[in-house]
Amino acid sequence: MSAATHNVAYSALTRRYFEHPVNAGVLHGLGVGRGEAGAVAEGTWVRFDVQVLHGIVTAARFTAFGCPHVIAVASWITEAAAGRPGTPALPEPVPALRLRFELPVEKLGRLLTIEDAWCAAIRAAVTNLGAALD
Protein backbone atom coordinates (compact mmCIF):
# COMPACT_ATOMS: atom_id res chain seq x y z
CA MET A 1 0.00 0.00 0.00
CA SER A 2 2.51 2.54 -1.16
CA ALA A 3 3.99 3.58 -4.39
CA ALA A 4 7.68 4.07 -4.75
CA THR A 5 7.55 5.03 -8.43
CA HIS A 6 5.03 7.77 -7.78
CA ASN A 7 7.69 9.29 -5.82
CA VAL A 8 10.16 9.84 -8.59
CA ALA A 9 10.35 13.52 -9.12
CA TYR A 10 8.78 14.01 -12.53
CA SER A 11 10.76 16.41 -14.69
CA ALA A 12 9.60 19.99 -14.78
CA LEU A 13 8.45 19.53 -18.38
CA THR A 14 6.44 16.45 -17.49
CA ARG A 15 4.82 18.22 -14.58
CA ARG A 16 3.97 21.23 -16.71
CA TYR A 17 2.20 19.22 -19.39
CA PHE A 18 0.63 16.85 -16.87
CA GLU A 19 -0.74 19.63 -14.70
CA HIS A 20 -1.73 21.91 -17.53
CA PRO A 21 -2.34 19.67 -20.51
CA VAL A 22 -2.94 21.53 -23.75
CA ASN A 23 -5.10 20.16 -26.55
CA ALA A 24 -7.10 17.65 -24.52
CA GLY A 25 -10.27 16.85 -26.40
CA VAL A 26 -11.54 15.88 -29.84
CA LEU A 27 -11.58 17.33 -33.37
CA HIS A 28 -14.15 17.10 -36.15
CA GLY A 29 -14.13 18.29 -39.70
CA LEU A 30 -12.27 18.05 -42.96
CA GLY A 31 -9.03 16.15 -42.94
CA VAL A 32 -9.41 14.88 -39.39
CA GLY A 33 -8.28 11.39 -38.60
CA ARG A 34 -8.52 9.44 -35.39
CA GLY A 35 -6.06 6.89 -34.10
CA GLU A 36 -5.82 5.07 -30.82
CA ALA A 37 -3.76 2.44 -29.11
CA GLY A 38 -3.54 0.64 -25.78
CA ALA A 39 -6.41 -0.20 -23.43
CA VAL A 40 -7.69 1.11 -20.15
CA ALA A 41 -7.52 -2.37 -18.72
CA GLU A 42 -3.81 -2.37 -19.45
CA GLY A 43 -3.23 1.01 -17.83
CA THR A 44 -2.45 3.05 -20.96
CA TRP A 45 -4.88 4.15 -23.63
CA VAL A 46 -4.23 7.07 -25.97
CA ARG A 47 -6.32 8.56 -28.75
CA PHE A 48 -5.38 11.34 -31.14
CA ASP A 49 -7.56 13.37 -33.49
CA VAL A 50 -5.32 14.99 -36.12
CA GLN A 51 -6.18 17.31 -38.93
CA VAL A 52 -3.92 17.16 -41.98
CA LEU A 53 -4.51 19.68 -44.74
CA HIS A 54 -2.18 20.30 -47.70
CA GLY A 55 0.14 17.69 -46.21
CA ILE A 56 0.57 19.74 -43.05
CA VAL A 57 -0.70 19.03 -39.52
CA THR A 58 -3.06 21.91 -38.86
CA ALA A 59 -4.52 20.79 -35.53
CA ALA A 60 -4.35 17.91 -33.08
CA ARG A 61 -6.16 16.87 -29.91
CA PHE A 62 -5.62 13.98 -27.51
CA THR A 63 -7.51 11.89 -24.99
CA ALA A 64 -5.48 9.75 -22.61
CA PHE A 65 -5.84 7.32 -19.78
CA GLY A 66 -2.39 6.81 -18.43
CA CYS A 67 0.39 7.87 -16.15
CA PRO A 68 1.62 11.46 -15.97
CA HIS A 69 4.28 10.76 -18.59
CA VAL A 70 1.70 9.48 -21.04
CA ILE A 71 -0.53 12.50 -20.54
CA ALA A 72 2.35 14.94 -20.76
CA VAL A 73 3.90 13.40 -23.86
CA ALA A 74 0.57 13.09 -25.66
CA SER A 75 -0.22 16.70 -24.92
CA TRP A 76 3.22 17.90 -26.01
CA ILE A 77 2.98 15.99 -29.29
CA THR A 78 -0.28 17.65 -30.26
CA GLU A 79 1.38 20.99 -29.75
CA ALA A 80 4.70 20.20 -31.38
CA ALA A 81 3.14 18.58 -34.44
CA ALA A 82 1.22 21.63 -35.56
CA GLY A 83 2.68 22.99 -38.80
CA ARG A 84 4.78 19.89 -39.46
CA PRO A 85 4.40 17.55 -42.42
CA GLY A 86 1.48 15.16 -42.07
CA THR A 87 3.56 12.00 -42.32
CA PRO A 88 3.05 9.05 -40.00
CA ALA A 89 5.91 9.89 -37.66
CA LEU A 90 6.09 11.56 -34.28
CA PRO A 91 7.34 15.15 -34.27
CA GLU A 92 10.34 13.71 -32.45
CA PRO A 93 11.41 10.06 -32.39
CA VAL A 94 10.74 7.88 -29.36
CA PRO A 95 14.31 7.89 -27.97
CA ALA A 96 14.45 11.67 -28.09
CA LEU A 97 11.04 11.93 -26.43
CA ARG A 98 12.18 9.62 -23.70
CA LEU A 99 15.13 11.87 -22.98
CA ARG A 100 13.10 15.06 -23.26
CA PHE A 101 10.59 13.85 -20.67
CA GLU A 102 13.08 11.83 -18.64
CA LEU A 103 11.02 8.68 -18.78
CA PRO A 104 12.28 5.73 -16.78
CA VAL A 105 13.31 2.94 -19.13
CA GLU A 106 10.52 0.62 -17.95
CA LYS A 107 8.01 3.08 -19.39
CA LEU A 108 9.43 2.88 -22.90
CA GLY A 109 6.52 0.72 -24.02
CA ARG A 110 4.12 3.53 -23.26
CA LEU A 111 5.85 5.77 -25.77
CA LEU A 112 5.43 3.06 -28.38
CA THR A 113 1.70 3.02 -27.61
CA ILE A 114 1.62 6.78 -28.13
CA GLU A 115 3.52 6.41 -31.38
CA ASP A 116 1.06 3.78 -32.61
CA ALA A 117 -1.91 6.00 -31.84
CA TRP A 118 -0.29 9.01 -33.47
CA CYS A 119 0.70 7.26 -36.66
CA ALA A 120 -2.73 5.67 -36.94
CA ALA A 121 -4.33 9.09 -36.59
CA ILE A 122 -2.14 10.62 -39.28
CA ARG A 123 -2.84 7.76 -41.63
CA ALA A 124 -6.56 8.04 -40.94
CA ALA A 125 -6.43 11.78 -41.53
CA VAL A 126 -4.73 11.34 -44.89
CA THR A 127 -7.13 8.56 -45.84
CA ASN A 128 -10.16 10.56 -44.71
CA LEU A 129 -9.07 13.63 -46.62
CA GLY A 130 -8.47 11.53 -49.73
CA ALA A 131 -11.96 10.01 -49.36
CA ALA A 132 -13.53 13.43 -48.82
CA LEU A 133 -11.81 14.83 -51.91
CA ASP A 134 -12.67 11.80 -54.03
Binding site: M1, S2, A3, A4, Y10, F18, A41, C67, P68, E106
Partner: protein, 404 residues
Protein backbone atom coordinates in the same frame (compact mmCIF):
# COMPACT_ATOMS: atom_id res chain seq x y z
CA UNK B 1 1.67 20.16 10.95
CA UNK B 2 3.80 22.47 8.85
CA UNK B 3 1.85 24.64 6.43
CA UNK B 4 4.09 23.58 3.55
CA UNK B 5 3.26 19.88 3.83
CA UNK B 6 0.21 18.16 2.40
CA UNK B 7 -2.72 17.15 4.56
CA UNK B 8 -1.84 13.88 6.25
CA UNK B 9 -4.50 11.25 5.65
CA UNK B 10 -2.28 8.21 5.93
CA UNK B 11 -2.81 7.25 9.57
CA UNK B 12 -3.08 3.58 8.59
CA UNK B 13 0.49 3.68 7.30
CA UNK B 14 1.79 5.29 10.46
CA UNK B 15 0.51 7.70 13.05
CA UNK B 16 2.28 10.71 14.47
CA UNK B 17 3.58 10.11 17.96
CA UNK B 18 1.18 11.52 20.52
CA UNK B 19 2.92 14.41 22.31
CA UNK B 20 2.17 12.76 25.65
CA UNK B 21 3.95 9.62 24.49
CA UNK B 22 6.89 11.65 23.20
CA UNK B 23 7.24 13.31 26.59
CA UNK B 24 7.26 9.98 28.41
CA UNK B 25 9.80 8.55 26.00
CA UNK B 26 12.03 11.56 26.25
CA UNK B 27 11.86 11.34 30.02
CA UNK B 28 13.12 7.77 29.85
CA UNK B 29 15.74 8.60 27.23
CA UNK B 30 17.19 11.34 29.40
CA UNK B 31 16.71 9.66 32.79
CA UNK B 32 20.13 8.97 34.25
CA UNK B 33 18.67 6.08 36.26
CA UNK B 34 16.70 4.30 33.55
CA UNK B 35 19.27 3.47 30.90
CA UNK B 36 20.34 0.13 32.33
CA UNK B 37 20.02 -3.17 30.55
CA UNK B 38 16.78 -4.69 31.83
CA UNK B 39 18.62 -8.01 32.20
CA UNK B 40 21.21 -6.57 34.57
CA UNK B 41 21.25 -7.55 38.23
CA UNK B 42 21.90 -4.08 39.58
CA UNK B 43 19.74 -1.07 40.42
CA UNK B 44 19.92 0.34 36.88
CA UNK B 45 18.68 -2.94 35.51
CA UNK B 46 15.95 -3.09 38.12
CA UNK B 47 14.76 0.39 37.19
CA UNK B 48 14.59 -0.55 33.51
CA UNK B 49 12.71 -3.72 34.40
CA UNK B 50 10.18 -1.75 36.42
CA UNK B 51 9.52 0.53 33.48
CA UNK B 52 9.19 -2.41 31.13
CA UNK B 53 6.82 -4.24 33.44
CA UNK B 54 4.65 -1.18 33.95
CA UNK B 55 4.37 -0.81 30.17
CA UNK B 56 3.61 -4.50 29.81
CA UNK B 57 0.71 -4.03 32.20
CA UNK B 58 -0.52 -1.03 30.18
CA UNK B 59 -0.44 -2.97 26.94
CA UNK B 60 -2.18 -5.93 28.53
CA UNK B 61 -4.90 -3.74 30.01
CA UNK B 62 -5.50 -2.03 26.67
CA UNK B 63 -6.07 -5.28 24.79
CA UNK B 64 -7.65 -7.43 27.47
CA UNK B 65 -4.96 -9.91 28.37
CA UNK B 66 -2.55 -10.67 31.20
CA UNK B 67 0.81 -8.88 31.39
CA UNK B 68 2.58 -12.24 31.35
CA UNK B 69 1.00 -12.90 27.97
CA UNK B 70 2.73 -9.95 26.29
CA UNK B 71 5.98 -10.64 24.44
CA UNK B 72 7.62 -7.42 23.35
CA UNK B 73 9.32 -7.39 19.99
CA UNK B 74 10.44 -4.90 17.38
CA UNK B 75 7.37 -4.57 15.18
CA UNK B 76 4.12 -6.18 14.12
CA UNK B 77 5.95 -7.86 11.27
CA UNK B 78 8.14 -9.65 13.77
CA UNK B 79 5.11 -10.56 15.90
CA UNK B 80 3.34 -12.00 12.85
CA UNK B 81 6.41 -13.99 11.90
CA UNK B 82 6.95 -15.27 15.42
CA UNK B 83 3.34 -16.35 15.73
CA UNK B 84 3.09 -18.07 12.37
CA UNK B 85 6.52 -19.61 12.01
CA UNK B 86 6.76 -20.17 15.75
CA UNK B 87 3.57 -22.22 16.00
CA UNK B 88 4.12 -24.03 12.72
CA UNK B 89 7.67 -25.04 13.57
CA UNK B 90 6.82 -26.07 17.11
CA UNK B 91 3.96 -28.30 16.01
CA UNK B 92 5.56 -29.53 12.80
CA UNK B 93 5.04 -33.14 13.80
CA UNK B 94 1.36 -32.56 14.47
CA UNK B 95 0.54 -31.28 10.99
CA UNK B 96 1.77 -29.03 8.23
CA UNK B 97 -1.20 -27.03 7.14
CA UNK B 98 -2.11 -23.42 7.92
CA UNK B 99 -5.08 -21.34 6.89
CA UNK B 100 -5.13 -17.63 6.12
CA UNK B 101 -6.86 -15.22 3.76
CA UNK B 102 -5.92 -13.45 0.54
CA UNK B 103 -6.27 -10.04 2.11
CA UNK B 104 -3.79 -10.33 4.96
CA UNK B 105 -0.86 -7.98 5.37
CA UNK B 106 2.37 -9.02 3.66
CA UNK B 107 3.87 -9.86 7.04
CA UNK B 108 1.33 -12.65 7.37
CA UNK B 109 1.10 -13.65 3.72
CA UNK B 110 4.84 -13.82 3.23
CA UNK B 111 5.37 -15.75 6.46
CA UNK B 112 2.77 -18.23 5.23
CA UNK B 113 4.42 -18.39 1.80
CA UNK B 114 7.72 -19.09 3.52
CA UNK B 115 6.01 -22.01 5.26
CA UNK B 116 4.90 -23.11 1.81
CA UNK B 117 8.53 -23.13 0.68
CA UNK B 118 9.42 -25.19 3.74
CA UNK B 119 6.91 -27.85 2.83
CA UNK B 120 3.75 -26.75 4.63
CA UNK B 121 0.49 -26.43 2.80
CA UNK B 122 -1.27 -23.09 3.00
CA UNK B 123 -4.95 -22.50 2.27
CA UNK B 124 -5.84 -18.94 1.29
CA UNK B 125 -9.47 -18.16 2.00
CA UNK B 126 -11.00 -15.63 -0.39
CA UNK B 127 -12.99 -13.00 1.46
CA UNK B 128 -16.44 -11.88 0.43
CA UNK B 129 -16.64 -8.98 -2.01
CA UNK B 130 -17.28 -6.85 1.07
CA UNK B 131 -13.77 -7.69 2.19
CA UNK B 132 -14.46 -9.81 5.25
CA UNK B 133 -13.77 -13.47 5.88
CA UNK B 134 -16.84 -15.62 6.48
CA UNK B 135 -16.44 -18.09 9.35
CA UNK B 136 -18.07 -20.66 7.06
CA UNK B 137 -15.24 -20.17 4.56
CA UNK B 138 -12.75 -20.79 7.35
CA UNK B 139 -14.53 -24.01 8.33
CA UNK B 140 -14.27 -25.19 4.77
CA UNK B 141 -10.54 -24.60 4.76
CA UNK B 142 -9.71 -26.28 8.09
CA UNK B 143 -8.26 -29.77 7.90
CA UNK B 144 -7.28 -32.48 10.31
CA UNK B 145 -3.63 -31.43 9.96
CA UNK B 146 -4.22 -27.70 10.34
CA UNK B 147 -1.99 -26.32 13.09
CA UNK B 148 -2.81 -22.63 12.80
CA UNK B 149 -5.34 -20.23 11.37
CA UNK B 150 -4.34 -16.59 10.95
CA UNK B 151 -6.78 -13.81 10.12
CA UNK B 152 -6.47 -10.10 10.62
CA UNK B 153 -8.81 -8.03 12.73
CA UNK B 154 -8.96 -4.71 10.85
CA UNK B 155 -7.84 -4.76 7.24
CA UNK B 156 -5.20 -2.10 6.65
CA UNK B 157 -6.38 -1.20 3.15
CA UNK B 158 -10.15 -1.24 3.46
CA UNK B 159 -10.72 -0.90 7.20
CA UNK B 160 -13.09 -3.87 7.07
CA UNK B 161 -13.32 -5.69 10.40
CA UNK B 162 -13.36 -9.46 10.53
CA UNK B 163 -15.66 -11.29 12.91
CA UNK B 164 -12.84 -12.62 15.06
CA UNK B 165 -15.13 -14.19 17.65
CA UNK B 166 -16.99 -16.05 14.89
CA UNK B 167 -13.78 -17.24 13.27
CA UNK B 168 -12.31 -18.20 16.66
CA UNK B 169 -15.40 -20.23 17.47
CA UNK B 170 -15.14 -22.40 14.38
CA UNK B 171 -11.40 -22.78 14.90
CA UNK B 172 -11.86 -23.81 18.51
CA UNK B 173 -14.40 -26.42 17.50
CA UNK B 174 -11.69 -28.00 15.37
CA UNK B 175 -8.98 -27.47 17.96
CA UNK B 176 -7.06 -25.05 15.74
CA UNK B 177 -5.42 -22.04 17.43
CA UNK B 178 -6.21 -18.67 15.87
CA UNK B 179 -3.67 -15.92 15.38
CA UNK B 180 -5.03 -12.42 14.83
CA UNK B 181 -3.04 -9.63 13.25
CA UNK B 182 -4.41 -6.74 15.28
CA UNK B 183 -1.84 -4.17 14.14
CA UNK B 184 -4.59 -1.81 12.96
CA UNK B 185 -7.01 -2.31 15.83
CA UNK B 186 -5.77 -0.57 18.94
CA UNK B 187 -7.40 2.81 19.45
CA UNK B 188 -9.73 2.23 16.52
CA UNK B 189 -12.17 -0.14 18.13
CA UNK B 190 -12.35 -1.97 21.45
CA UNK B 191 -10.10 -5.02 21.59
CA UNK B 192 -10.70 -7.68 24.22
CA UNK B 193 -8.40 -10.55 23.48
CA UNK B 194 -9.58 -12.62 26.42
CA UNK B 195 -13.12 -12.49 25.10
CA UNK B 196 -12.12 -12.88 21.45
CA UNK B 197 -11.13 -16.52 21.59
CA UNK B 198 -7.87 -15.81 19.77
CA UNK B 199 -4.77 -17.68 20.91
CA UNK B 200 -2.28 -15.15 19.60
CA UNK B 201 -2.41 -11.53 18.51
CA UNK B 202 0.08 -9.14 16.92
CA UNK B 203 0.26 -5.51 18.00
CA UNK B 204 2.13 -2.47 16.66
CA UNK B 205 3.21 0.67 18.47
CA UNK B 206 3.22 3.08 15.55
CA UNK B 207 -0.32 2.50 14.35
CA UNK B 208 -1.67 3.82 17.65
CA UNK B 209 0.30 7.04 18.21
CA UNK B 210 3.17 5.12 19.75
CA UNK B 211 6.74 4.75 18.46
CA UNK B 212 7.90 2.90 15.38
CA UNK B 213 10.17 -0.06 16.02
CA UNK B 214 8.24 -1.73 18.79
CA UNK B 215 5.45 -4.27 18.73
CA UNK B 216 4.21 -7.19 20.73
CA UNK B 217 2.91 -10.67 20.33
CA UNK B 218 0.23 -11.69 22.78
CA UNK B 219 0.34 -15.39 23.56
CA UNK B 220 -2.75 -16.31 25.55
CA UNK B 221 -1.94 -18.68 28.38
CA UNK B 222 -5.31 -20.38 28.10
CA UNK B 223 -4.35 -21.53 24.60
CA UNK B 224 -1.62 -23.69 26.13
CA UNK B 225 0.56 -23.14 23.08
CA UNK B 226 4.31 -23.33 22.72
CA UNK B 227 6.31 -21.37 20.17
CA UNK B 228 9.61 -22.10 18.50
CA UNK B 229 11.64 -18.90 18.89
CA UNK B 230 12.65 -17.27 15.62
CA UNK B 231 15.84 -15.68 16.85
CA UNK B 232 18.45 -16.99 19.21
CA UNK B 233 20.51 -15.33 21.89
CA UNK B 234 20.18 -13.88 25.36
CA UNK B 235 16.79 -15.48 25.92
CA UNK B 236 14.87 -12.33 26.82
CA UNK B 237 11.06 -12.41 26.86
CA UNK B 238 10.99 -15.94 28.20
CA UNK B 239 13.29 -17.16 25.47
CA UNK B 240 10.89 -16.15 22.73
CA UNK B 241 12.53 -12.89 21.68
CA UNK B 242 16.23 -12.47 22.30
CA UNK B 243 17.85 -9.05 22.33
CA UNK B 244 18.27 -6.27 24.87
CA UNK B 245 14.86 -4.76 25.66
CA UNK B 246 14.39 -1.22 24.34
CA UNK B 247 13.06 0.40 27.49
CA UNK B 248 12.02 3.75 26.02
CA UNK B 249 10.30 2.08 23.08
CA UNK B 250 8.34 -0.26 25.32
CA UNK B 251 7.42 2.60 27.64
CA UNK B 252 6.19 4.55 24.61
CA UNK B 253 4.07 1.67 23.40
CA UNK B 254 2.61 1.18 26.87
CA UNK B 255 1.73 4.85 27.20
CA UNK B 256 0.26 5.00 23.71
CA UNK B 257 -1.89 1.94 24.35
CA UNK B 258 -3.10 3.31 27.67
CA UNK B 259 -4.14 6.52 25.91
CA UNK B 260 -5.71 4.60 23.05
CA UNK B 261 -7.83 2.53 25.39
CA UNK B 262 -8.96 5.63 27.24
CA UNK B 263 -9.67 7.79 24.20
CA UNK B 264 -10.72 5.21 21.66
CA UNK B 265 -14.43 5.88 21.84
CA UNK B 266 -14.16 9.67 21.74
CA UNK B 267 -11.68 9.46 18.85
CA UNK B 268 -13.94 7.08 16.99
CA UNK B 269 -17.01 9.28 17.19
CA UNK B 270 -15.15 12.39 16.09
CA UNK B 271 -13.32 10.64 13.27
CA UNK B 272 -16.46 8.93 12.04
CA UNK B 273 -18.08 12.32 11.52
CA UNK B 274 -15.07 13.61 9.60
CA UNK B 275 -14.87 10.48 7.49
CA UNK B 276 -18.56 10.71 6.66
CA UNK B 277 -18.05 14.29 5.52
CA UNK B 278 -15.13 13.27 3.30
CA UNK B 279 -16.93 10.26 1.91
CA UNK B 280 -20.04 12.26 1.08
CA UNK B 281 -18.11 14.87 -0.88
CA UNK B 282 -16.13 12.35 -2.86
CA UNK B 283 -18.98 9.98 -3.65
CA UNK B 284 -20.85 13.02 -4.97
CA UNK B 285 -18.33 13.17 -7.83
CA UNK B 286 -19.92 10.09 -9.36
CA UNK B 287 -17.98 7.15 -10.75
CA UNK B 288 -16.49 6.60 -7.29
CA UNK B 289 -16.74 3.16 -5.70
CA UNK B 290 -16.16 2.33 -2.09
CA UNK B 291 -13.89 -0.66 -1.53
CA UNK B 292 -14.97 -2.90 1.30
CA UNK B 293 -18.29 -3.05 3.06
CA UNK B 294 -18.79 0.32 4.75
CA UNK B 295 -21.15 -1.22 7.30
CA UNK B 296 -18.36 -3.52 8.47
CA UNK B 297 -15.47 -1.09 8.41
CA UNK B 298 -13.81 1.06 11.02
CA UNK B 299 -14.71 4.65 10.25
CA UNK B 300 -11.22 6.04 9.97
CA UNK B 301 -10.31 4.15 6.79
CA UNK B 302 -12.06 5.10 3.55
CA UNK B 303 -10.90 3.31 0.42
CA UNK B 304 -12.32 4.60 -2.86
CA UNK B 305 -11.76 3.68 -6.50
CA UNK B 306 -12.09 6.45 -9.06
CA UNK B 307 -13.29 5.64 -12.55
CA UNK B 308 -11.80 7.41 -15.51
CA UNK B 309 -8.18 7.82 -14.52
CA UNK B 310 -5.01 5.84 -14.09
CA UNK B 311 -3.66 5.31 -10.59
CA UNK B 312 -0.24 6.90 -10.88
CA UNK B 313 -1.75 10.03 -12.40
CA UNK B 314 -4.35 10.22 -9.69
CA UNK B 315 -1.70 10.11 -7.01
CA UNK B 316 0.60 12.50 -8.84
CA UNK B 317 -2.24 14.98 -9.18
CA UNK B 318 -2.88 15.13 -5.44
CA UNK B 319 0.40 14.16 -3.81
CA UNK B 320 1.45 17.75 -3.17
CA UNK B 321 -1.78 18.48 -1.33
CA UNK B 322 -2.84 15.20 0.28
CA UNK B 323 -0.59 12.50 1.71
CA UNK B 324 -2.20 9.09 1.49
CA UNK B 325 -1.67 5.63 0.09
CA UNK B 326 -2.85 4.24 -3.20
CA UNK B 327 -3.95 0.87 -4.38
CA UNK B 328 -0.85 0.25 -6.37
CA UNK B 329 2.23 -1.02 -4.68
CA UNK B 330 5.14 -0.24 -6.90
CA UNK B 331 7.94 -2.09 -5.27
CA UNK B 332 9.54 -2.78 -8.58
CA UNK B 333 9.48 -1.17 -11.98
CA UNK B 334 6.03 -2.42 -12.77
CA UNK B 335 3.23 -1.10 -10.58
CA UNK B 336 1.15 -3.93 -9.19
CA UNK B 337 -2.46 -3.25 -8.35
CA UNK B 338 -3.37 -3.94 -4.72
CA UNK B 339 -3.82 -7.66 -4.16
CA UNK B 340 -6.33 -6.84 -1.45
CA UNK B 341 -8.65 -4.92 -3.77
CA UNK B 342 -8.15 -7.54 -6.48
CA UNK B 343 -9.25 -10.22 -4.01
CA UNK B 344 -12.42 -8.20 -3.48
CA UNK B 345 -13.14 -8.48 -7.18
CA UNK B 346 -11.96 -5.07 -8.38
CA UNK B 347 -10.46 -4.83 -11.87
CA UNK B 348 -6.74 -4.13 -11.99
CA UNK B 349 -7.46 -0.68 -13.29
CA UNK B 350 -9.92 0.23 -10.53
CA UNK B 351 -7.65 -1.28 -7.94
CA UNK B 352 -4.90 1.01 -9.20
CA UNK B 353 -7.01 4.13 -9.28
CA UNK B 354 -7.95 3.79 -5.64
CA UNK B 355 -7.04 6.02 -2.76
CA UNK B 356 -6.95 4.98 0.87
CA UNK B 357 -7.90 7.91 3.04
CA UNK B 358 -7.09 7.15 6.66
CA UNK B 359 -7.95 9.70 9.30
CA UNK B 360 -6.78 9.93 12.86
CA UNK B 361 -6.62 11.66 16.19
CA UNK B 362 -5.23 14.89 14.79
CA UNK B 363 -7.31 15.18 11.63
CA UNK B 364 -9.32 18.42 11.46
CA UNK B 365 -12.41 19.39 9.52
CA UNK B 366 -10.36 21.94 7.61
CA UNK B 367 -7.96 19.21 6.56
CA UNK B 368 -10.79 17.04 5.36
CA UNK B 369 -12.18 19.91 3.32
CA UNK B 370 -8.80 20.70 1.79
CA UNK B 371 -8.33 17.07 0.88
CA UNK B 372 -11.80 16.72 -0.59
CA UNK B 373 -11.31 19.82 -2.72
CA UNK B 374 -7.89 18.68 -3.93
CA UNK B 375 -9.13 15.25 -4.89
CA UNK B 376 -12.22 16.61 -6.61
CA UNK B 377 -10.12 18.99 -8.65
CA UNK B 378 -7.71 16.23 -9.67
CA UNK B 379 -10.51 13.86 -10.57
CA UNK B 380 -12.21 16.43 -12.77
CA UNK B 381 -8.97 17.36 -14.51
CA UNK B 382 -7.96 13.79 -15.22
CA UNK B 383 -11.41 12.87 -16.41
CA UNK B 384 -11.34 15.81 -18.80
CA UNK B 385 -8.15 14.37 -20.24
CA UNK B 386 -9.36 10.78 -20.41
CA UNK B 387 -12.75 11.68 -21.86
CA UNK B 388 -14.60 9.99 -19.02
CA UNK B 389 -17.49 9.14 -18.76
CA UNK B 390 -16.79 7.01 -21.77
CA UNK B 391 -20.20 5.36 -21.96
CA UNK B 392 -22.00 8.71 -22.12
CA UNK B 393 -19.67 9.72 -24.95
CA UNK B 394 -20.42 6.43 -26.73
CA UNK B 395 -16.86 5.26 -26.37
CA UNK B 396 -17.32 2.27 -24.11
CA UNK B 397 -16.50 -0.15 -26.91
CA UNK B 398 -13.52 1.81 -28.11
CA UNK B 399 -11.96 1.91 -24.72
CA UNK B 400 -12.49 -1.75 -24.17
CA UNK B 401 -12.76 -2.96 -20.58
CA UNK B 402 -13.18 0.54 -19.26
CA UNK B 403 -16.10 0.03 -16.92
CA UNK B 404 -15.58 -1.57 -13.58
Amino acid sequence: MSARLPVYLDYAASTPLDARVARRMNAVLTDADAFGNASSAHAYGARARELVEAARAQVAAAVGCEPAEVIFCSCATEADNLAILGVAEYYRERGRHVVTSRTEHKAVLDACRELGRRGWQVSFVTPSSGGYVEPAAVVAALRADTVLATFMHVNNETGVVNDIAGIAAVCRERGVPLHVDAAQSVGKLPLDLAASGAALASLAGHKAYGPKGVGALVLRRSAGLQLAPQSYGGGQERGLRSGTLATHQIVGMGEAFALAARECEADRVRIAALAARLSERLLALGGVLRNGDAARAVPHILNLSFEGMEGESLLAAIVDRVALSTGSACTSAKAEPSYVLRALGRSASLAESSLRFSLGRFTTEAEVDTAAAAVAEAVLRLRAVSGYPWVAAGQAETVGAAGP
